[in-house]
Amino acid sequence: MASAPFKAQLTDLLNSMFAMDFLDEQFKELQMLEEASGPGFLTEVVTLFCGDAERIISQLDALLNEPAVDFGKVDANVHQLKGSSSSVGAKRVALVCIKFRNVCQENDKEGCIAALHEIRHEFDELRKKFQTMLQLEQQIQDLDSK
């Protein structure tokens, strides 16, 4: 089958993402749901997460650049990002969010800025892998439907 090498690549990619804690068991739940309901669900969820995360990270950047930081709003945004990342199985992003909330609750601006930097790094890494994953899935779908 023409899609076989792409399937192998996708399997390798996902295995490494699980091994390196980019993804956790929750992502496997989403894969199960996709199997039960048909293709498209994972793509939709991953796309929604990436859009959500980018929006929140931009918002956090703006909030932390204020002369007087509103730590309540920062916390609310981080809480939202932690929720989204947990829902999609983005383990490393979720863990950094927990660290972020801790420094936020201490009203530690420097700590928050450092945590935001770390979140941005983790999310960028994850997003690249998600993009590769979606491209491979699309290639597999296109080849299998021929």
Binding site: Q26, S37, G83, S84, S86, S87
Partner: protein, 233 residues
């Protein structure tokens, strides 16, 4: 032609996160529920027809979202127009009820939402004489024992920690079935009591009213024929 032998239960899912709404919708549909998703407690109250004292819209009876928007617009203009619209809505709703049921077998809601929280929604549902029997499940990403016990004390049937999984959703059916059986039992008891009442007139009319109420309850276990899953965001 397939014949549906099992009634399809309707779950109202409320969550301000679009991602979590997508997830809970997929979980519920995979488990064969009909699903309506809403993004706020305010919209949930409107959908259920519960008056929200904090809302600008003071209309207490109208589950139809578009009719609420219509009424909300006129309210700002004149009181007389609002009263007229309310009357039209009541008439329209009555006619609508003859042809289509919009009933909810279970409500599942996020705890933390801006404005009306999941806890507020739970309270309103349990305070409502017509809706208090609907099982309510709370979801939260935070494992806070005091929050959990507060919700259970207020009448929540389950408390799910997010992310919600298929194994959690499998716990919903007993709550729905328990309420259905309760309605069936009450309906059967009422049917028995109605046949034994003869006079005086007051008692007969009282029982007829009660029979009507139980009729609404018994309809919950009738096979559904509504239009299909609705997503309102």
């Amino acid at each position: 032609m397939a014949i549906e032998t099992q009634p399809q239960f309707h779950v109202l899912a409320v969550d301000d996160s679009v991602l979590d709404r997508k997830l809970i919708e997929r979980l519920l549909k995979t488990s064969s529920y009909q699903v309506t998703t809403l993004d706020s407690g305010t919209k949930a109250l409107e959908f259920l027809g519960i008056q929200d004292e904090n809302s600008e819209n003071a209309v207490s009876v109208s589950p139809h979202h578009q009719v609420n928007l219509y009424i909300s617009f006129f309210r700002k203009k004149t009181q007389i127009v609002l009263l007229f619209c309310n009357l039209m809505v009541l008439i329209g709703f009555t006619i609508l009820c003859c042809f289509q049921e919009v009933e909810v077998n279970l409500i599942i809601t996020d705890y933390c939402m801006p404005g009306i929280t999941g806890y507020d929604l739970l309270k309103k549902v349990k305070e409502s004489s017509s809706l208090r029997d609907i099982p309510v499940v709370i979801m939260s990403s935070e494992n806070i024992p005091s929050r959990i016990s507060r919700c259970m004390e207020e009448g929540a049937d389950e408390f799910f920690l997010k992310p919600v999984q298929l194994s959690d959703v499998s716990r919903l059916k007993p709550h729905i079935l328990k309420k259905s059986v309760k309605c069936q039992d009450e309906n059967q008891n009422q049917n028995k009591s109605v046949t034994t009442i003869s006079s005086p007139t007051n008692n007969v009319s009282g029982n007829k009213r009660k029979a009507t109420d139980e009729g609404i309850c018994s309809e919950r276990i009738r096979p559904r024929y509504s239009a299909g899953p609705v997503t309102i965001v």
